[in-house]
Every structure is written in C-alpha cells, then in structure tokens.
C-alpha cells in the first residue's frame, strides 16, 4: 500500500505560522493545542547568524507507535494509509502521546481525549488539499503519495532525518523534507520569536 504524507520545503519557509493558524481554525482549537506547529531555530554567531523554521504536523508514519500502543484502538491506520483517531473510542489515557516521537497527538482537557492532525481526510476525500498546504504563503507544503512526491522532487536531497527530529527508523514517518543546509547542523537553539 502506498503511504501518504507531507512534503515540506524548508528552504521556502519563513516561519510565519499561517499553516499553524489555518490548522487551528479548521480544527477549532483552543490555545495550547496545535496540530501543526512551527518552530524557529538559530545557529551561528553575530555577524553570521543563520536560521531555519520547521513546520510539523502528524507524519502519518508507516510504523505508527501511537497505533501500536493504543489500548482501545482509537488510534488506527485508515484505508488510505494515514493514521487516524476515533474520538469515540478514545479514553484519554495518553499512551499515544508517550509513544509518538513527534508530539503529534495532544491532550485536549475539555474533551478529556486526545486529538491530532488527521491530514484533513474529509477535505481530501472531497478533492481538496489539507488546509495547511493551500494556506502556505510560500508554497512550502505539499501532500500526496510519498513515492510520487519523492519522484516529483528528485534531486532535492530529501530527508526525514534532522537533528531536531527523532531518528526516522523508529516510526518510519511519511515525511519528505527539503532541508536548508544549516538544518543538518547540530548546534541549534530554538527561539520563540
């Protein structure tokens, strides 16, 4: 089965967080819950600093530890290969939060349950993209079949392995990043701009 996931072109991202806000709007989230989250990192010393931004959501892993560890089956792999969450089965035990190396599932106190990026599955079934993809002002995000994305972006040194991320062999994320060169360096500091 083909896996689907996000392509993120870090070289285009200006860290504006429009994708983060578009996702919050679509999922009607309170503060504290961000199914897509953008972070900024800084390296180097004045007068030669460098920065990069990272926009991450659920990576709809091929080997999802959240599904593996879910006692009720609320976390499951859907027919289209994406990782989905059934609110009705969720008991809010938060094992998925423990298991996910990317912070994708988040606990929603009002519901007493977890939630996460669902890749806007219902919109996709209606022929649309996830809202973050169409929101991006810099056209840095794409969604689709991972192998198709890989072919479309051949030659871009795509990776899902970066110092700021967990090693990909743990969950096999369906995630293709075109990184900035500085994102491969280990001496980064996160900055909440």
């Amino acid at each position: 089965m083909g896996y689907q996931g996000f392509y993120f072109n870090m070289t285009r991202c200006i860290g504006c967080k429009t994708c983060q806000i578009a996702c919050k709007d679509r999922n009607d989230q309170d503060i504290g819950i961000n199914f897509r989250l953008v972070k900024t990192f800084e390296l180097g010393l004045y007068p030669n600093p460098s920065i990069y931004h990272y926009s991450g959501a659920c990576n709809h892993c091929a080997n999802p530890k959240c599904v593996e560890g879910c006692p009720t089956g609320a976390m499951y792999v859907a027919d289209d290969g994406t990782v989905q969450h059934d609110k009705n089965k969720c008991i809010g035990c938060r094992y998925c939060i423990w298991n996910c190396p990317y912070g994708a599932p988040q606990f929603i106190p009002e519901l007493g349950k977890v939630g996460k990026c669902d890749s806007c599955k219902d919109l996709r079934e209606n022929g649309e993209n996830p809202v973050c993809v169409d929101a991006c002002i810099m056209r840095a995000l794409e969604w689709g079949d991972i192998e198709e994305l890989r072919a479309r972006h051949a030659g871009e040194e795509l990776t899902s392995e970066l110092p700021i991320l967990a090693p990909p062999h743990i969950t096999n994320p369906s995630l293709l990043i075109k990184p900035k060169k500085n994102a491969r360096l280990k001496e980064y500091q996160e900055k909440e701009m």
Binding site: R12, I14, G15, C16, K17, T18, Q20, I21, A22, K24, D25, R26, N27, D28, Q29, D30, I31, G32, N34, V38, E42, G44, L45, Y46, P47, P49, S50, I51, Y52, I108, E110, L111, D122, L123, E125, N126, E128, V131, D134, A135, C136, I137, M138, R139, K191, E192, M193
Partner: protein, 873 residues
C-alpha cells in the same frame, strides 16, 4: 456551558438541528470565547458542501490585501479559507491570506468585543475626575444616552469655545472611516493632525526634490516580472517577510531563484534575508544617511569611466541637478554641490567609509563592497522600505537614495530601479491594473485649517499652542505660524488608535487627562478606548453590507456581509447620522443616498486595464435585473465579469504572464494606463534635485530643525550619538541602547494584539543581542525594564545573534498596560520610549529612540497569552 455539553452528548441530534440549537443557546455569548468543544463536535466532517462561503473583508492596515472567505452554516462562521478561485502559479498567484487574516474569526467573534455603549463611572460634563481616565470603572449606557452625551458635549464646547476646541484624531482620507470627519465638517469643522506615519520622510521630500511619484501607489520601482531581471537586489531597511507578507516574500523568492543576489542593510538579520540567503550588512538604526554617504564617496573616488565605470555620468547630466559644481543651478553657490560635500572639499571632512563606519556600524569594506555592487553596468534594484525614513532628521534620506540610484543610472530601464518597495507595492511597482469606483459622495472640506504634526500633537494639547505648518496630507507646506490652541474634546472616530500609535505616549495620556471629553468608536478596549470617557461599540467589516478592498496592483477584492452586527454594535456611519440629527444637521448632507447605493456606485465605477495595456474599461457587467434586485439607481453596462459572479468569487485578478502588456519600468516613458495616479505626478527626468533650494527653504521655514539643500549628515535627535555621554572618547551615557521597532506578524500595527491564537504563536519578546544581554545579566525569559528619556516599559527578553550589538528590537504595536503606581508600562508599547519630538518636515521618527536596559527587579511578566482579556460586560 458544561451542562449544555452534557445534554448535547446525551441527545441523538442531527448535525443541522444541533447547530441550530447551539446558535440559539449561545447567541449572547461569543462562540469562540467560551471554549471550542461545542463547535468542534459540530463541525466534524464539514466539507463545505453545506453552508455558504462568503467573501469576508480583510480590512487591515497590514500593507497588503488577500482573499479571505468565511464558511457560514446556519448563521455561524465555522471556519475560513483563502484564495482557491484559480490554479496557483508564479505568474498568476493565488492571493493567500496570512495568519492574521485567518484569525479574523477569532477577532470578530472574540469574547472581548465591546458589546454596549459605555461611559466611565467618574466622568461628568467638564471632565469629572480626569485622572481616572484609563483606570476607571465602566458603566453600561443606552445608545440614546451615549449619543446624547456626545452631541451635547460637541454642541456645548463648539458654542462656548469654538470649533477649534474639537480635536479629531481621524486619519482623514484613509480607508473609508471618515464618517465622523464628514460630520464634524458640517458643524463648523475641527482641528486635525497629519504626520509622516508609515512613509517617514518619503511623505514630503519627494515632492520637494522633483516630480518624483508618491511612493504609494508604488510608481518608483519596476513590476515583479521585470525585477526577475535584476542581478543585485539591495534591501535598505526592508523585511517583507514580516512587513509586507501579502505576495512580496513569494516574489523575492522567485527573483532569488531567477538569479538575483540580495544584500540586506538592516540592524536585524531578518527573515527575508534568510529566505533568499541574502548577505547582511549590519547597520545601526537612523544611520543610513551616513552609510550611503560613505557609499557615495567610494563610488566617486573609485570611478573611472574607462577602466572602472561606476558612475553613469550621462544619466546624471541628463536627469539631475546639483551633483557637482558644473551642474548646480545658476542662482546657487556652486560650492554647495553634493560631490564636494562628499569629498570634504570645503568642510574638511571626507565622508570616507571609515568616517561612515564609526557612525553606522557597517565595516568600511562592506561599504566599499556595496559601492561596487552599485556600478552602472550591474543590473541593480536599489530598494528601500520606509523604516529608514521613519527617523528623526532623516529628511534628506529619500533624496540621498535617489541620488545613489541616479549615480549608478539605475532608473528607467529593465533590470534597474531605485526607490520605495513597501506595502502592497513591495517588489511589484506600477499603476493599478484594476480599480474600484467611487461611492459618489461629494468630497468634504474642513472649514478649520488647523493641522498639528503627529509627532507633537500631544505637547500641542498640553502646552496650549503649536506651530502650524500646513498639512502633510497633500500639503500645503508652510512656514511656521505659532497658534494658540485650547482643545476641549478629543473625538476618536474610527480608523486609528493614535494614543498608542503616535510619538510620546506618556504625553498623550497627560493630554487625554487634560481635556474635558474624550469619545471613541471601538471594537475592543484598545488604548484610545481605555482612556476615553464614552466608548461607542462599532461593527467590524464582517458585519457591514460589503465593499471593495485593494492591495497589490493586480487585484481587487469585493467583500460581502458575513454576519449581522454583534450585540449593540453599530456602523460608524449610523453613529454619524444619529449625531447629525441631534446636532441639527440633515443626515442627507452626510449621505445623500444609502449604503447600498454607495456600494453600487463603486461597483459600477470599477475599471480594469484594457488588454493592450493602454487604457481602462468598465470591470463589471450590470443588468437591469441586478439594478432592480439591488433597488438602486443605475444604468446597465457591459464589463468583464458579471456582478453576481464577482460577488461570489470575491476577487478580480488581472491574469499576468511574462512579456504581457502590463509591465512597468519606473521613470521610463509614462504608461498610458494610470488609473488612480495623475499624469503630472510622473517623474520628469530633468528634475531629480540632488540640490534643491526650495527643499531646504521649505523645511527650514517649518522651524522644527534645519537641513541643507543637498543630502548631508545631520546628527539625529535620540540617535546613535545620543547614546554616548562622551562621543570623542566613546563613553556610553545614561541611555546606551538604540531601539528599533520591527513590524511583527502577530499584529497589523496595533490590531490583533488581543487575539489568543496570535499571542500564542508570536509572543512579542524583546530582541537583544546575546552578548549585550549577558553583559547585563539578562537571560532569555527574564523580564527586562527599558527606560528612555520619555518613559518606561517591560518586555520579556529573547537573546539572539541576529541583532547588531547596541540595538534592541521592540516589536511594534504591543498594547500598553500601565501600572499607575510606578508609571511603568507592562505591555511593551513602543511609544512609551519614543518621544514627542518633531524634526524637519515634522517626522514621526519611531526608529530613533534610545534607552537603558536592565533586568527588572519587580514582578516578572506573564506571557501575553495568559493575561486576562479586556472583557467589560
């Protein structure tokens, strides 16, 4: 709320009936403010097939304009989307909204929307306890009582003290909200103000140094397709990733991919620089004139027309006046030419890179490097945003930018341009290709000619006198005339939040506490509302009939009503009409016809560029059915797009591609299609005045400070030199840091600051160079006290390597929240530090401010997202 949720979970409602029920139950509560679980369960699987997408106004002063649409299901806005009206491509891009526009649902329906008219408890005619302005309790009053108070205060003060006792802080002539301005002119007029605002010294200087087009509507630089031909793009104080996010960062990315190298001259290694892998030349704020004089020196001294042609002497000779002795006007002293000033021929101070470096902080080699980049045969775009001109004593800066560009001949041809790249025309110059029509309301004139410069409007009220020098909004520019002033009423009618956004906030608050009556129209308890006596809740543009909005030259947005007015909020126009009745003015004098007719007139009068690019033609096809349906006066017409279609689509975008008929080369032959721009404002190439006696005399006669007719270095008030107690020995003084106020993506000026999602995403810290912070014992997360000669404010530190040492970045627009006991602002408001000082043309020099920084010993700040919302009732 909780019991309602339980009830809902027990029931087996269909989604539609659930939404209906929730709408009724929560009609009196903003849906967003009480948590989101209700809406969340309701909107699962809403794919847009139910409900209606309505084009929602994105009305903000963000420097751009984008498409936002709201999905309305049974009267509730459940989510938003942006432009999907056509396939996206670099040539014909979608007009994608930013995070602020996409947060408007949170804004319009926020729990802190003002619901009812209110007055402060301790107000009485005459002022009551004026000191309590800003800290009083609020009392809900009816609209009848509110309008009565406003009308009687206006009437009484006009009768007893004359119209010159009324001060309107409206920005005359800006986006739509001139309702109160119109009203006041019909009852005898009022005192107003004008300032350099966003433009800095680009407001007046271009008109005085030649027939250079006004920077807006963006006629100084080439269009985005031609900019792809540039090899070197110089960005002087420009950061479109934060300041002009609508379209521009995308265009800069495309230019970079097409082969352009970018050089950023800025105190901050900004996000645009990072995007295009640009080179960064760190400079101190308000030192750009020194920097560019150093560049001019290198260009002059390294130029050799044969072996090293830097200067385009032909261009200079043909198009400028005053560059050297030979080209000075006949009635001028030939020694006053620019070249000899730069060389130090007569003043003995050659403006070498070393001279410049001491002031601006750039390294001499960087100045030499930039001068070489500006050589005539390099395809250069010398672009500046307004920030470097939003400085005290910077009147000559626009003149100097044009001089440098002219020296390299970087004007009037493909791949070269010099000028302002800002707002909606950032990286995309040229006249508008699609234009809205007018509403048909005749223009109004203020019988009172008093106009105070923004920079000193608060002192004018406090001192009871001011220098009248004409207006910066279209002139005239006049010699100083001292006038007495006795303001009794401050009327904040709509657009703007000037108590927060103008220089010298501490003096502003004192001025507010001096006058007898302050009334404000507001949607939230923003700064000027907070310090008012009466606050009138007004609608947002989502709650109004509809209209047009513009941004970049290629697009026109048509928005429609999304929801009915919330609570008791009213339109500003309704308030004006009701006050008119109470003041004995026929409302028909304000609005001869209704809102629908006004909107229709705009639609009928909209125009679009013809296919050959040479003229304009009607945009909208209007049928007799349309006219009947609208119930308006009008004639059918043939246009490009039907009225209903345009309303549904919400946008008309001129489709562009490379080598089409809609390109623009600035300072070349004027294009035929000049919608909205008058022909005579086009640049007359024989007149770039590198020396201008008229410029010198006009500015000097205003009496704020002196300039010379050529660009010279003038030490700015509250500038770099003022951070020293002993300049010669380089010993720092009481206020050793310079303050810069970058535009910041959480806000559009002061709007959006109160929106939770945006507070969470962009916490608005104080940016401090890491070494500077460590030297002061400050770590990231510490609360820092900033003290300037004019006030104090607090912000949380973020240490960074991205700022030049000695400069701190305090993001523009943060709402003040002053501790009355200490006088210290806990909100990080920029104008607490920036003083009410007027220089030159009367510039608001926000990037010329100095301060001391120290770790605060008092109560640490909590993150803005945790501070209580200003919910009154």
């Amino acid at each position: 709320m909780a019991s309602f949720i339980n009830k809902v979970n027990e029931l087996n409602l269909s989604r539609r009936s659930f939404l209906k029920a929730s709408a009724v139950a929560t009609a009196s509560l903003p849906l967003v403010g009480c948590g989101n679980s209700l809406i969340k369960s309701a909107t699962e699987n809403v794919t847009g097939e139910e409900g209606e997408w309505i084009t929602a106004a994105c009305w903000h002063n963000c420097g751009g304009r984008c498409l936002n649409k709201a999905l309305v299901v049974d009267g509730i806005v459940v989510r938003q989307k942006t432009d999907d009206t056509h396939m996206d491509s670099p040539e014909f891009p979608q007009q994608r909204a930013c995070l602020r526009g996409r947060s408007q649902r949170q804004q319009v329906f926020g729990a802190d929307r003002l619901k009812y008219p209110m007055k402060r408890k301790n107000w009485a005619p005459g002022g009551g306890n004026k000191e309590l302005r800003g800290q009083d309790e609020w009392v809900r009053i009816s609209w009848e009582e509110a309008l009565d108070i406003v009308a009687s205060e206006l009437k009484r003060n006009i009768q007893e003290h004359g119209n010159r006792s009324i001060f309107s802080t409206l920005e005359f002539g800006s986006l739509a909200n001139s309702e109160i301005a119109k009203l006041l002119t019909l009852v005898g007029g009022c005192v107003t103000h004008s300032g350099t605002r966003s433009w800095g010294t680009w407001k007046a200087t271009p008109r005085l140094i030649g027939e250079i087009p006004e920077p807006m509507p963006g006629l100084q630089i080439n269009d985005r397709f031609d900019l792809l031909n540039c090899k070197t793009v110089i960005m002087l104080g420009a950061n479109p990733a934060w300041s002009a996010i609508s379209g521009t960062p995308y265009y800069t990315r495309l230019a970079n991919e097409a082969g352009a190298k970018f050089i950023f001259i800025d105190p901050f290694y900004n996000d645009t620089a990072s995007l295009v892998d640009g080179e960064w030349i760190p400079v101190r704020p308000a030192t750009d004139t020194a920097f560019l004089l150093g560049v001019a020196y290198v260009m002059i001294t390294t130029d050799d027309p044969v072996t090293n042609p830097i200067i385009d002497w032909e261009f200079l000779k043909a198009n400028t006046v005053g560059f050297d002795e030979e080209s000075m006007p006949e009635d001028a002293d030939p020694k006053d030419n620019f070249k000899d000033y730069v060389l130090g021929t007569y003043d003995g101070v050659p403006k070498t890179p070393e001279w410049a470096s001491k002031i601006c902080g750039a390294k001499p080699d960087q100045i030499r490097y930039l001068a070489n980049e500006l050589r005539m045969h390099n395809k250069v775009a010398l672009l500046t945003a307004y920030a470097p001109a939003r400085n005290k004593n910077a009147d000559n800066l626009p003149q100097l930018v044009m001089t440098i560009g002219a020296m390299g001949g970087h004007m009037g041809k493909s791949g070269h341009c010099t000028g302002v790249s800002s707002n909606a025309n950032a990286f995309n110059g040229g006249p508008r290709l699609v234009q809205p029509g007018g509403d048909g309301i005749p223009p109004y004139k203020n019988p009172v000619d008093d106009s105070i410069r923004d920079a000193v409007m608060w002192p004018a009220i406090l001192d009871g006198e001011y220098s009248y020098v004409g207006s910066l909004d279209g002139g005239p520019f006049l010699p100083a005339e001292r006038r007495k002033l006795d303001i009794k009423v401050i009327y904040n009618g709509g657009v703007g939040n000037s108590l927060q956004s103008r220089d010298g906030m501490n003096k502003g608050i004192k001025a507010y506490r001096k006058v007898d009556f302050v009334v404000t129209h507001a949607q939230f308890l923003n700064t000027q509302a907070k310090y008012s006596d009466v606050v009138l809740p007004v609608t947002t543009w989502w709650e109004r009939l509809g209209g047009f909005l513009t941004g970049g030259r290629e697009t026109l947005f048509m928005y429609s009503q999304v929801v009915k007015p919330l609570y008791e909020a009213k339109d500003d126009a309704w308030v004006a009409e009701e006050l008119a009745k109470l003041l004995g003015v026929d409302p028909k004098k304000l609005y001869p016809f209704d809102e629908k007719q006004q909107f229709f007139n705009k639609i009928a009068g909209s125009t679009v560029v013809t296919d050959d690019g040479k003229g304009m033609e009607p945009l909208v096809t209007i049928t007799n059915e349309d006219i009947a349906e609208w119930g308006v006066q009008g004639k059918p017409q043939k246009g490009r797009i039907g009225l209903k279609e345009l309303q549904k689509k919400g946008v008309y975008q001129v489709e562009r591609h490379a080598n089409d008929n809609f390109g623009y080369i600035a300072f070349s032959d004027p294009p035929a299609a000049v919608a909205g721009a008058t022909q005579e404002k086009f640049f007359d190439k024989s007149k770039i005045k590198i020396y201008s006696k008229e410029f010198e005399d006009t500015i000097n006669a205003m009496g704020f400070s002196k300039i010379r007719g050529i660009p010279t270095y003038i030490e700015p008030e509250d500038g770099y030199e003022k951070t020293f107690s002993d300049w010669d020995n380089q010993i720092k003084g009481e206020f050793p840091f310079q303050v810069m106020n970058p535009h910041y993506l959480r806000r559009s000026h002061t709007v959006f600051d109160n929106i939770r999602w945006l507070q969470e995403a962009w916490p608005s810290p104080l940016f401090i160079n890491e070494n500077d912070a460590k030297a002061h014992g400050i770590s990231t997360g510490d609360t820092v006290l900033l003290t300037s000669p004019h006030g104090q404010t607090l912000r949380t530190a973020l240490l960074t390597q991205r700022f030049i040492p000695g400069v701190i970045g305090l993001p523009h627009g943060s709402w003040p929240d002053i501790d009355e006991k200490t006088g210290i602002d806990t909100g990080g408001a920029d104008n607490m530090l920036c003083g009410a000082i007027s220089t030159g043309q009367g510039t608001s020099g926000w990037n010329t401010a100095i301060c001391n920084i120290e770790k605060y010993k008092g109560t640490p700040l909590v993150p803005d997202v945790q501070r209580p919302q200003r919910i009154i009732f």
